[in-house]
């Protein structure tokens, strides 16, 4: 069959300036083969080293893309016309993906992989979206995770396993038994040890090819900028508002992406806050909630698997940013509901008046975030005179003093264990149920560790219950010092 091939203008130099070439063949593939036999210089521009048609080169048989026919096996008839049409593709950065990071390095500046690393990452390397270039980007990347807890566990494990070359972790806490239902970085042997030590050992064991950098410090306004400066991406795995605003503001000031996640009970949120590219956390939440309104995990509880899900989503976004594949979660907030098993997505807008990330910021340095969040370090405690220790309460009860023991915890906590004869009014119901209490009696409030009951005691005193007292250390102290048959949790 004699077929006409139309040559695109830029390639006519390789066909002796002919815009059309007559070739022979029974199929598209054969006709194209004949074309490159006649004009060998075309070969490398149409076919890759593997002998396959380059992905951006399309062949049209008359008016149809042969991909929608039988590709190169499509039969041709005499008089048919084949056209070579490029699809135009390209983009920043090296194949297969360009890092979205501003510190994106050129491909030849990236660190090489060792034979052991090729083995470790083989399942990444065989995917064209990651490939050797993507894996080398991961190796070059420096990621700092804030917190080695519920979110920090999957983050640390997956980012280390994926080969993030420098993985920093900030934490100053100690592993507690109550961490183990969700903080899968740790085992029973870690209980009582500093988290940062146990985490570092675990991650080094998981992947000896990376550098794990422990930062055993309490993150605050005095050290955040210096700490973040050396990293490409900061991942927020914190559980409190002052640190969340601190992480956000420091990232905006340094122009770094903040991969955010938060969890509460059965729900979680994920986004990437990156002031240089989109909204920041303050564009979404300009003001923190009043202290005490949103309970912490210690107070409100959390489904153990939830941080595993949310932290893994954060790790996914971190890896995408580094490798440069997919759509990063910038300007979008994903909400996850574990009970309904539903993901929702909200579009976020940059606030043109944002105090930190807008074009005219009113705040250009870090501030006191405890104060910003309305947290007075002394506000949560009541005066010592209004506190009572667990053994003292035991003595009072033994003496038969008339007193009301007010338990301000939530009903599931009450189910775990309680003081005999105590009254249950959860803290958030207290305001509405004051009528159930006698203002003249001595009221000893208790909770899990003494924080919520301190708020209850302050509130009761304001409301005229002049004999309200707080049980220091909560029911935990009672269990340790008085009655071990009441379970600790």
């Amino acid at each position: 069959m004699s077929v006409t091939v139309q040559i695109p203008t830029p390639l006519r130099r390789f066909t002796g300036d002919h815009g059309e070439v007559q070739v022979e063949g029974a199929t598209v593939g054969e006709a194209m083969q004949d074309l490159t036999r006649r004009h060998p210089a075309l070969q490398r521009h149409l076919y890759g080293d593997d002998g396959a048609l380059r992905t951006f080169v399309n062949i049209f048989l008359n008016d149809d893309d042969v991909r929608h026919l039988q590709r190169e096996g499509t039969p041709v008839a005499s008089g048919d016309t084949l056209s070579i049409i490029p699809s135009i593709a390209g983009g920043a950065g090296g194949a297969p993906g360009a890092s979205a990071l501003q510190t994106a390095r050129e491909i030849d500046e990236l660190p090489e992989l060792s034979p052991a690393e090729f083995r470790h990452y083989s399942r990444h390397l065989i995917m064209p979206e990651v490939g050797t270039a993507g894996q080398r980007r991961l190796k070059a990347a420096k990621v700092l995770t804030i917190g080695a807890g519920g979110l920090g566990s999957p983050l640390g494990l997956y980012l280390a396993a994926a080969g993030v070359g420098t993985l920093g972790m900030v934490d100053f806490d100690v592993v507690d038994e109550s961490n183990l239902h969700r903080q899968v970085l740790f085992g029973r042997s870690s209980v009582g040890r500093p988290k940062i030590q146990a985490a570092t050992e675990r991650l080094r064991d998981l992947n000896p090819h990376i550098k794990v950098v422990p930062h055993e410090v309490r993150l605050d306004s005095s050290n955040a900028l210096e700490l973040f400066r050396d990293y490409d991406i900061v991942v927020d795995g914190t559980d409190n508002f002052p640190t969340r605003y601190l992480v956000n503001d420091a990232c905006v000031l340094l122009g770094k992406p903040n991969v955010y996640g938060s969890i509460f009970r059965f729900e979680g949120q994920v986004s990437i806050f990156w002031g240089a590219r989109g909204p920041c956390y303050r564009c979404l939440f300009p003001e923190p909630p009043p202290p005490g309104l949103v309970p912490s995990c210690a107070e409100g509880g959390v489904l153990g698997v939830l941080p595993g899900i949310i932290g893994s989503l954060q790790a996914n976004e971190v890896i995408k940013l580094i490798v440069g594949v997919g759509d990063p979660l910038i300007g979008r907030l994903v909400l996850f509901d574990a009970l309904k098993m539903k993901f929702r997505e909200l579009k976020l807008r940059k606030d043109p008046n944002c105090p930190v990330c807008s074009d005219h910021p009113t705040q250009t340095s870090l501030i006191d975030y405890d104060q910003f969040c309305g947290i007075d370090p002394h506000a949560e405690t009541v005066e010592e005179a209004f506190e009572i220790s667990a053994p003292q309460l035991k003595a009072w009860r033994d003496e038969g003093r008339p007193l009301t023991v007010l338990d301000v915890r939530n009903p599931p906590e009450w189910e775990i264990g309680r003081l005999e004869g105590s009254t249950l009014i959860p803290l958030h119901e207290l305001q509405d149920r004051l009528g159930e209490l006698d203002p003249a009696s001595t009221i000893v409030s208790l909770c899990h560790t003494g924080m919520r009951s301190a708020r209850a005691t302050s509130f009761l005193r304001q409301m005229g219950f002049s004999r309200a007292i707080n049980l220091a250390g909560g029911i935990n102290a009672w269990s340790i010092q008085v009655d071990p048959s009441v379970p600790r949790y």
Partner: protein
């Protein structure tokens, strides 16, 4: 030495397209004439098109073959050719990537507009070597705007050499 000649208004059109598309990549066609003897590519008009990538639009662009066919037709109707393409690199230098090299042909101008934080930082033009080994930069020089000087649209007189 290869040279790309473009009017300030056409260059501005491409750069404004790049800035407006930030943080995603934009793309479009350069339509004009290529003079083999002088190695001069004269851009007569730019044709912005939409980025047909569904994902990774911050660092990838795609123009489908159907759109290429349409642009070719439009160029032919003007007695011109598609002489190259432009695209943007958000927060990335105006240098071709490995990915760009894998997806290019020689004989065309590849203009890259670097956009940093939404503002145009740099515009450069590149041509793929015949052995596909590397991109070589070509000079961009300013053509006289036909709107300002309708009589001499393509004459490279009084040109101002761009620092590239």
């Amino acid at each position: 030495m290869f040279t790309l000649e473009i009017t300030p208004s056409d260059r501005q059109a491409a750069e404004e397209h790049a800035a407006a598309s930030y943080p995603e990549e934009c793309c479009g066609f350069l339509i004009g004439r290529f003079n083999v003897a002088t190695e001069l590519t004269a851009v007569v008009r730019v044709l912005p098109v939409s980025n047909e990538r569904q994902e990774s639009r911050h660092n990838r662009y795609l123009i489908s073959p159907e759109t290429v066919l349409a642009a070719n037709k439009e160029a032919r109707a003007l007695g011109l050719d598609v002489v190259g393409y432009y695209h943007s690199h958000p927060d990335h230098p105006a240098r071709p990537s490995e990915f760009d090299r894998d997806h290019a042909w020689p004989g065309l101008s590849y203009v890259i507009v670097s956009v940093e934080g939404g503002k145009v930082a740099d515009t450069r033009s590149w041509r793929l070597s015949d052995d596909r080994e590397r991109f070589e930069e070509e000079a961009i020089q300013q053509a006289i705007d036909p709107a300002a000087e309708p009589a001499t649209p393509l004459v490279p007189s009084g040109i101002q050499k761009e620092a590239v």
